[in-house]
């Protein structure tokens, strides 16, 4: 579905991605884990055209994304829940959700999706008239995910959705991610919280300073000594 080949991205001469390869198969949950500054966000932002890569290729169902504008890429069914939620604080919760469906014309389907989002996140229905800026951090993350779903994505990319959330809410969020996946949405998830991410992922990639270090099945990586030492905070010396 999504194929990234030899992607190099530089910020003012400094390479943040040094030629990475990554593939997302339809119907899978794929996770990209790595430390802060490893290049995770840069990877996702390249996919949606928010940063212009220096070289390499990104294709989606064999469509070349590199020369497309962000607003056209999202119309193909690729959505990014950006790092730090980035909800529109000056719009109501409902307006934020409607904006997610901004480019869609199928009014009836939009209504159904809104009901679906409300069933996943009942709190959003309760607060639909409130300014989004007044929501708590957890609620804002729910809104950011709900807003992304309103575009009816085929590929949902999430950039550290668990960042700054209480553990109980992180749990809830991961359950909802699984639920979204069960509805047939392919997922590419970025996390520093490698443990939770690898538990739900079919495939995991580990990125380190702009290079893919390890690739494997989620379960496999959970048992990989190197991963456990570096990302799961475990002591595996014995």
């Amino acid at each position: 579905m999504l194929k990234i080949d030899n992607l190099v991205v530089a910020y003012g001469g400094i390479e943040a991605l040094k030629g990475i390869n990554l593939e997302v198969e339809e119907g899978k949950i794929v996770t990209l884990v790595g430390a802060n500054g490893a290049g995770k966000s840069t990877t996702l932002r390249s996919v949606v055209g928010l940063v212009k890569p220096k070289s390499g290729s990104i294709t989606y169902n064999n469509i070349d994304l590199l020369n497309m504008k962000t607003q056209d890429i999202v119309k193909l069914g690729i959505t990014l829940v950006p790092e730090g939620r980035r909800i529109f604080p000056n719009l109501t919760v409902l307006e934020n959700l409607k904006l997610g469906a901004y480019f869609r014309k199928d009014t009836n389907e939009i209504k159904k999706d809104l009901e679906w989002v409300y069933s996943l996140f009942p709190i959003l229905k309760e607060r639909h008239w409130q300014m989004a800026g007044t929501l708590s951090g957890g609620e804002q993350q729910m809104l950011a995910v709900g807003r992304a779903l309103m575009s009816k994505p085929k590929l949902l990319m999430m950039d550290e959705p668990s960042l700054g959330l209480a553990p109980i809410i992180v749990n809830e969020l991961f359950n909802i991610i699984k639920e979204i996946h069960n509805q047939g949405v392919t997922i590419l998830l970025i996390e520093q919280n490698a443990n939770a991410a690898l538990h739900i992922a079919d495939i995991g990639y580990v990125i380190e300073t702009g290079m893919i270090k390890i690739k494997g099945e989620g379960k496999e990586l959970l048992n990989n000594d190197e991963v456990r030492k570096a990302y799961l905070g475990e002591n595996v010396s014995n």
Partner: protein, 299 residues
Amino acid sequence: MINMTWEMFLQHLANGISLGSLYALIAIGYTMVYGILRLINFAHGDIFMMATYFAFFGVFFGLPWYIAFPITIILTILLGMGVEIAAYRSLRDAPKISIMISAIGASFLIENLAIVIFGGRPKAFPTEELFTKVVYIGNISVQRLTFIIPIVTIILLVMLLYLINKTKTGMAMRAVSKDHETAKLMGVNIDRTISTTFGIGSALAAIGGIMWGLKFPQIQPLMGVMPGLKCFIAAVIGGIGNITGAVIGGFFLGVSEIMLVAIFQGLTGYRDAFAFIILILVLLFKPTGIMGEKISEKV
């Protein structure tokens, strides 16, 4: 109050309100563009000036006002959008200072082109009996225009607030004004949204310009400079980025300017300085203006 009768007071108030309405219409353009681009469109006053010339030539070439004025509005919208494309769009990701210099350049260019093309000498704006006829209410005599201007302004304001708050286009404009990148992620074409914003601001400046020409029927290429500055000040008084604030700021400035001159006739010569004194006071004591939010550091 220095020997002013009640009638005189009302007459001055009416004049102040209609001048304030014109300020308000132009101030909206400044505040909307600032809201969406964090940029002061220095060419806005000149776009207003060009509108008066479009209307002048329309009538001059024999078009009836009800055709000349809509054409004026359309041409002014195109001019405003053209300025955005030529002077600002290619600098979208450039440092703020470059965009500001480009804005000042656009302003000078329009002014000097107007001088070359139209000549520096003032022209008499064609008056239209329908609007300029004087009516008497008791002892007060006012032009019809004095009532038409505020009414038109209020109607336009209501329409604009509806557009911004209740339509999809308005929703996109509010989203873009907060976060360009995330708006793109929603599939919003931000270039088009910004273009629309310039179009709306220019349309209001055109309507303001036409009514200005009818009220003060002498036009010249630098006529946009002082109203432009004052309307920018009005937008700052109201809280830049806030549309209702810009309207309140415009009315406030118009009414107080007229009243000041009416009450202290010796100060007539300082009329234009008044706006700047207010600006300094606002910046000193309430830099966010009447309705303003926190000013972002983006400027």
